[in-house]
Each structure stands twice: as structure tokens, then as C-alpha cells.
Symmetry: none
Subunit: 224 residues, 4 copies
């Protein structure tokens, strides 16, 4: 993205043009914002174009149609978020600390990427049709499970985790709590107030979530 800020090659005013990759990223950025905000069908190609340094016509030049643009935006959103996760260093921690850190990180990470959450919500509304077609996205999600599997193996080796712990179930649990926290904030706070989503409430929830997940992997006797 800092490509966009690169100096124009020859000092020309229109320097950022003729830089296909920058234009693509510019469009993708605008598309993610618009799709996340409005949803697939409510999003307007004109509005996406308006958020762009380029024109509507170029959207069709780089991406073929609205649907294709949506596909690429979804991929980009996933890539951006998973990339953050991959930076996590967990190997040097004890299994329980590694898991705690991963849960807390996920909770925060989801909170910090509401656009991504919203795109996944929208994708679910559409029965994940687009995601199901994207092998790229599917590959992006393998590392999460691998991380959890490694933690489980180590925790079981240490005799602390239950032997029937399943990495996928674990991911389901972590995701459910972290995702819902962002996705359903609008309805939940409309019905039950906004306190849970203020700083204090979120801190408490975060702790609770870590606690719940850990409690579900520990053997009974070792539970904190």
C-alpha cells in the first residue's frame, strides 16, 4: 500500500497512474469498505468508484464485474486479517499460556477488524457461495488450525489437556465468542444495552472468554 505513496516516476502530476498494482489496491480498499458497510447488493459500484482515485470504468478494467470485485475484496479481507494472526509467536510459551494468548489475541483482533467481520457476515447471509469457490481463502485458514493442533499436542503431552480435545472444535469455540462479540453488537446492545461493549465490559468479556476456553480443555483436576 505504500506503493501508492511512492514518488511519481518522473515528477509528473499523474504519476500514480500507470501503476496497475497501486490502482488495484486502491480499488480493493474502497470495495472492502463499501461491501462491508452496505452488503453485496446494496453496495453501489458508483460509490466504490467515488472512494477511489480512479474511475468506475477502471473497476471493470481490473475486475470484470461487481461479483468478481466482491470475490477479490473478500479474499483481500481474509488475507489482511490472517496475516496479522501469523505474526503471533506462540512456540516459546507453555501450552496453556499459548492458548490463552491466542484466544485473547483473536478476541482483540476481531474487534479491531470489524470490516472483516462484516464481510464474513455478509458471506454467511449468502450461504458462503463466494468463499466456497475460493481456494485461496481456504488455504489462508489452514495455519490457524495448525497452530491450535500444535498447542493441543503439547498440552496433551504435558498431561494437562484432555485427550479428546479437538483443534477444530477449539477454533469453533474461540471464533464463536470472538466473532459474535463484533457481529451481533448492534442487536445485542439495542436489546440489552451498550455496557458490555464499552471498554470495561469488553475487558471483562475478554477475560471470561479466555477463561471459558481454557476451562474446556483442562482436565477436571487441573482446572483453575
Amino acid at each position: 500500500m505504500n506503493i501508492e505513496n511512492a514518488d511519481p516516476p518522473s515528477g509528473r502530476k499523474s504519476g500514480w497512474k500507470q501503476n496497475p498494482e497501486a490502482v488495484r489496491q486502491d480499488i480493493l480498499h474502497a470495495a472492502i469498505a463499501e461491501f462491508a458497510e452496505k452488503g453485496l447488493s446494496t453496495a453501489r459500484v458508483d460509490d466504490i468508484a467515488a472512494k477511489t482515485k480512479t474511475s468506475k470504468r477502471m473497476i471493470y478494467y481490473y475486475f470484470d464485474d461487481k461479483q468478481t470485485l466482491y470475490e477479490h475484496a473478500l479474499e483481500a479481507a481474509y488475507a489482511q486479517v490472517r496475516q496479522g494472526e501469523n505474526a503471533l509467536q506462540l512456540d516459546h510459551l507453555s501450552p496453556q499460556d499459548a492458548l490463552a494468548k491466542l484466544v485473547a489475541f483473536t478476541f482483540d483482533h476481531h474487534r479491531n477488524h470489524p470490516d472483516f467481520i462484516r464481510m464474513v457476515m455478509i458471506e454467511n447471509v449468502h450461504h458462503a457461495e463466494t468463499l466456497a469457490k475460493s481456494e485461496a481463502i481456504q488455504k489462508l485458514n489452514i495455519p490457524v488450525i495448525e497452530k491450535l493442533a500444535a498447542i493441543c499436542t503439547r498440552g496433551q503431552a504435558d498431561g494437562i489437556f484432555r485427550t479428546d480435545v479437538d483443534p477444530t472444535v477449539l477454533h469453533w469455540q474461540i471464533s464463536a465468542l470472538s466473532f459474535f462479540n463484533v457481529s451481533n453488537r448492534p442487536t445485542f446492545s439495542a436489546l440489552f444495552g451498550d455496557q458490555l461493549f464499552a471498554e470495561a465490559g469488553q475487558a471483562a468479556l475478554r477475560e471470561q472468554v479466555v477463561h471459558m476456553v481454557l476451562a474446556s480443555v483442562y482436565k477436571s483436576k487441573d482446572r483453575p
Copy 2:
């Protein structure tokens, strides 16, 4: 819905016609199905009409426009689901059993009402704008919290539940796990397979969820 089968008021030829309430319900049904399936803006008034025994014009006669129809559909979806919840008898159970039953029931109830879940998803995509305006829906949701509050009070009186347990947080936890299970099934199974959503997987998850919630309210020494 058996309203529809009620005898025509007089000897009119048109039978179910001339029965405004039946027509309203017919439309509302079709609207819920269409909105839940397609989302707010993707849903077509024409398609809703097609699912109806009556015509598009009548939709505008009974409901003023698409947005209003959506509001009523959302209310109807909530009413239908909360009604099921209210039938639960929990008072004769111990606090822990009552909570376990409520969690398990919610998990199942959500599973059994995917249309409702989808309408809430859609509402969240739209920042709960419609729901925020509906006092009717907000009233419908008071009993859930009251139920949980009663359970908490009893559990705390019994000295088994932690003193800082919060009914709203509890509801958040139960909802998160039960809601996500339905809402994110499309993306989750596209990425990580469908096993968790088959019968065996769901049974296991249900048990896990009950377990996690109970574990989070118990005092440490009493945890199962």
C-alpha cells in the same frame, strides 16, 4: 396459520379471501422466508408476492413499503421464536439444572429456527436500525434476562454460583455459542469441513457449550 383454513365468514365464493388477517399472515410468512433467504436488499417484492396467495399490490395495501414489510417480518420472526422460549418451565429445577436446560434448549432452538437467525444476521448487517426502532421487539426480550437473573439469584443463594455472575453476560455467552453455530455454519464448514454440523458433531458441541457455560458460573471449588 390455521386461521387460513377458517371457514369463510359467509357464503362467499372466494373463501380465504376477504379475511384480512389471514392475508396479512400469508404475506408475513412469505416475507420472512424471502428476507431470511436473500437479505434485505436482495429480496424482491415480486418474489415475495409470488410466494403469496395474493398479489404484489396487496403487499402495498397492507404494509406500506418494503422497509415497513421488513419491520413487521422482523417483529413476527422474533415473536415466533421468543414464544417458544417462554414455554420453558425452569422453576422446579435446581439452578444448575435450570441453567443447563436453558443453554441446551437455546442451542437447539436456534438450530431449529435458522430463518430467525438469518433475520438477526441481516439486522446486524444493517446496524440494527430497524430493531432499534421497535419497542415491541425490545419488550419481547426482557423475559430471557429475567429467567437468567432468577437462576443466578437462586444459584448464588445456594452458594454454588460465583457472586459476580451477570445475567446479561451469561446471555451473551449462551447466545454467542448458539447463534454462531447457525449463523456461521456456511463459512465455517466451507473452510473446515462439515463434520461439526452433522448430527454427532452437533451433539458434541451442544454438550461442550453447556459445559462451558456452567463452568463459567461455578465457583472454582465446585466446578464439575
Copy 3:
């Protein structure tokens, strides 16, 4: 079509409205003119609408899209022309006179319906895709062959026509000469002058064409 001229039901200015069939015909008329003039892809829906008493929107109401409108226009063009042919009374004439009359009639009829000819030209440019799908049009064309078959049978019974005369070949011959006369007038006259298409030229060609066709069915000894 005289429906269009029918008195408005109640003297209202907009009386011709709410008369679906009249609107359909109005659109169809405009469509034939536009398609015949410009071709399928050069024709503009806006221009068709402009030739209409109604609006572009109604074109999509009655016909679903441009292609469908084209299909109906093609059918209407065929129907209109074949209808003229069916009015021909040939049974009371001798076979040779009947044939001569049919040829002359076709030559004139084609000349008098250049829009029809142009639509068939366009259809041929498009490999008859649309026509091949229309069973309606195919049925419309059966009578022509039947007429010719009847003439042939009578002529052969009389011992005047060759025994190997084929009605379909005969139709091919008549069509070729009559069709080309209209279809290729632009290029032919651009290259070789316009005289053949002036009145005198056309009269001569018409005679020639009748002559050629008759000559090809007669037994040698009887040729005129």
C-alpha cells in the same frame, strides 16, 4: 391493429391505455421497423420506445428483453407476410397459370415488404438462431410448400410438368429470385446502376423470373 383506433372506452384522453393488446401491437410495429432498419444489435431499445405511444419501460413489461422482443418481431413479420400469401386463390387456374401467378405474386409481395426481407436478411446474418427456435414461424411456412405441391401434382397429372419437379426446389428458385431482388438491391445498384430497380426494369425482371421458373418445370417439348 384497428384496435388502436377503437374509441376510448369512456372518452378519456388516455383511453388507449389499459389496452394491453393494442400496446403490444404498437411496440411490435415499432420494433419491426427499427430492427429491419438497423439490425439486431444496432437497433436501440430507446429508439424503439421513441417510435411508440408508450415507454421503454413497457417494452420490458410486455417483452422481457431486447432479444425476446426481436423474436416476437420476427414472428410478427413472418405472420404478416404469410397471411398475404394465403389470400391467393389458385385452385381455379390451370397449373401453369397458377404457378405463373404465384411467382409473379411472390416477386411483387417481396418488393412490397422490404421490412420483412430485411428481417430475414438479419436473421441469416445471425445464422437463423432465432428462427430455428420458433416453431410458430416454422408452421407458418408450411402452406407455401403445400400450395406448390398441389400445383406440381396437377401439372404432372396434366402431363405438362416434368415428373421430377420438387416443390421445395421450386420454392427455392422462386424465393432466390424474388428475395435477391430486394435484399441485394443496395449493392447491386451501387455496382451496376439503378436501372433494373426502376419501374421498367422491375417489370422486365418480373417477366423474366416468371419465365425462368416456368421453363424449369415444363417438359422440353412443351416449353413456351
Copy 4:
């Protein structure tokens, strides 16, 4: 077109490039194919470029716009076909044999150059606007009439042909039958079957056509 295979002028890397005439021909070829297949307005400059060894930009470099490219394509199509006709040697034959040969040749020649026929069809749909402007094409067509005029003169001198035979009318007849055979095959076979266009059918038609044309120039008493 073997121009394309000419050795690159020097030791340039790009081989066939840098050979303007070859590039022109390449483009012209693609253009004829595309225009003949799709028609003038349905043909896409992009698609023409795709059929080319070069790029869309070069089309605009060599030809100025789509319309100009079409003009050149039309000229090229005519040139290519008329060139074949000019190779015919008719002088050493009797007038009647020469005419028979010319008719049969035209029938076959048209069949073998459907792209040319289609371009003429398209030109007629467009009222021969382009052709009318091209003096080049008009010159190309003079020899056909001259050939026929020569045959007529000889046939009349021999006392076999009618004195009122007109070379232009003759050309009209020959063209009509040979042209229609190709141009209207799609609609004709869609309506009346494909037999006439199979080998046997075409052979019979060809004979018929020769016969018809000859019959129309002979004096009555000499008719075959």
C-alpha cells in the same frame, strides 16, 4: 500471406514484426472473419484483436477506426473473390458453353466463399453505404459484366441467343441464384430442411441453375 513467413529483414529478434504489410494482412484477415461472422456492429474490435498476432492498439495504428477497418475488410474480401473469377478462361469456348461454365463456376465460387457472401449481406443490411463510397470495389466488378457482354455478343452473332439479352440482367440472374444459395441457407434450411444443402441437393440445384439461365437466353426454337 506467405509474406508473414518471409525472413525477418535483419537479425531482429522480433521476426515477423517490423513487417508492416504482414501485420496489415493479419489484421485484415481477422477483421473479415469477425465481420463476416458477427456483422458490423456485433463485431468487437477486441475480438478482432484477439484473432490477431498483434494488439488492438495496432488496429488503430494501421486503420483509423472500426468503420475504416470495415471498409478495408470489405475491399479485401471483394478483391480476393473477384481475383478468382478473373482466372476463368472462357474465350475458347462456344458462347453457350462459356455461359454454362460461368454460371456453374459462380455457383461453386459463392459456395466456397461464404465469408465474402456474408460481408455482402451485411453491406446490404447497411444499404451499401460503404460499398457506394469505394471506387476500388466498383472497378473490381467491371470485368464480370464485360465477360458476360462478350459472351452475349458472340451468342447473338451466332444467332443462338435472343437479341434482347442484357448482360446486366444476366448477371442479376446468376447472382440471385448463386448468392441466395449461400446467404439464405440458414433460414431456408431451418424452415424446409437441410437436404437441398447437402452434396446431392447442391449438385442438383447447380444443374438447375445452369439450366434456368441458359433457357432464359436461348431463342425459343433452340431451347434445350
